[in-house]
Amino acid sequence: MKEPVSVLFLRESPEKFKMEEKREVEHEDVYILVDKIKEGDREAFMTLTRLYQKKVFLLAYSFFRNREDALDIVQETFLRFYEKVRMFQRGKNFQNWFLQIAKNLCVDYYRKNYSKSKEWDRSKPIDEMNLPDQSSYDPLGSSDLREIISACLKKLAEKQRMIFVMRHYNQFKYREIAQILDISLGTAKSLHFKAVRNLRGLMAPYLGRQL
């Protein structure tokens, strides 16, 4: 009955979904690229796009769970980046600075396009959740874990969702998340904890029934 603790700890690390550009680009190389972009170098810009496009897409897609929105965010992020590139100074962490742009765009985009529809589809699932017994009519009830987590993620508060997505899918460390979101390490950690705890709370009714 008592499981060995070590088994509980072992969670398959989400290595399967790593970026193609696994090797960390050396800071100096990025600085040189950015310097060239500041001078209007198209090739350098394209190189940088190749390096970071997937990170932005992954962040935006896991946040919105919509391919077209994510692609919009990717393009918009690079456009904004080019507008702001002269403000970037050597010594800063480029990736964190860059992803801050992406994250801000995601939040703005979300507030502009999702807040209303969120209210709308929040009202429905809540009604449905009140009837957990009629599993055959519950769109979430019969579906697998994937749909449950997807629906629950959407109900998370904006910041918690962003942190969860960053930590889980982008696999950023708390330290990086703190820099990108411009919050303290402790805040990042506790927001992540709250996100997971709230997700668990949201998932509970479905998981309980599944078991």
Binding site: V5, P14, T49, R50, F193, R200, M203
Partner: protein, 268 residues
């Protein structure tokens, strides 16, 4: 347990490998002894498992994007929008300072100010302009003005001479014994006074235009009238007829006639 609350808060960080070694050890030890926290850990793991279940979906979305084509498309879009390439760094710095979007309201205000200013200037300074044009009608050459004055002097003199002529003619033809009556009569005295006043006006004109001959004759007429008006009452018949003769002798009327002719001919 005492530190369950703190431990639970660390569970998520633990699952994500964000705990320091010592923290990890502490947590493991606690979990060994605390079924409650182990259960909580299990719940957290379910969430993570659920989140992992989305990986496939994300991978599919990632695979659906053409990553080779996207950079060139983005670059195209970005550089089409930001067409002009940045210039030399220092120049770029300066122009960036002057063309930063923050300054746009200031530039707009400046432009409005300049437009408003020039409009007001236009309104204020436009008014005198037509007046100048009107005044321009009087801005004629000195020569023309002098000619006008000369012409006026000539006409005045002509009138003066004519009136004097008629009066003298009347005087000469009137009987000498009634001279006092003649000069005292309302009509004649008024006429004489008018002639004298006119003389006052024309004499500076005649001086100015150096019409010496005309001036001499006019002066003679003036003295004559002056005397006649003043003293006619005390003059005897003889004296009056003497004056009449003198006027005839001196051919004053003829002179007047000639002068008139001369003046008429010299019309400007």
């Amino acid at each position: 347990m005492m530190d369950c609350k703190k431990i639970k808060k660390d569970l998520v960080a633990f699952l994500y490998g964000e705990l320091r070694e010592d923290e990890k050890e502490l947590l493991k030890t606690h979990l060994e002894a605390c079924p409650d926290c182990r259960k909580e850990l299990q719940h957290m793991k379910e969430v993570i498992k659920g989140a992992d279940s989305l990986q496939e979906d994300i991978e599919k979305a990632m695979a659906s994007v053409d990553w080779e084509e996207l950079p060139s498309r983005i670059t195209e879009a970005v550089f089409a929008k930001e067409a002009p390439l940045p210039r030399e760094p220092w120049l770029a710095g300066i122009s960036r300072f002057f063309f930063q979007s923050k300054l746009r309201p200031a530039y707009a205000a400046l432009l409005i100010g300049v437009l408003l200013g020039s409009f007001i200037t236009f309104i204020v300074f436009r008014a005198p302009l037509p007046r100048e044009v009107e005044a321009g009608n009087f801005l004629v050459s000195r020569d023309f003005l002098e000619n006008v004055e000369l012409e006026m002097a000539r006409r005045e003199t002509l009138n003066y001479l004519e009136e004097s002529q008629y009066l003298l003619l009347d005087f000469i033809q009137s009987p000498s014994e009634r001279s006092a009556e003649f000069w005292q009569s309302e009509f004649v005295s008024q006429k004489a006074r008018g002639i004298l006043a006119r003389k006052k006006y024309i004499s500076p004109q005649l001086d100015k235009f150096k019409m010496a001959k005309a001036k001499a004759i006019c002066d003679q007429i003036e003295y004559l009238f002056y005397e006649l008006v003043q003293i006619s009452a005390q003059l005897s018949e003889e004296e009056v007829s003497k004056i009449q003769n003198m006027i005839e002798e001196k051919k004053l009327l003829l002179k007047i006639k000639l002068l008139k002719k001369e003046l008429e001919q010299s019309e400007v």
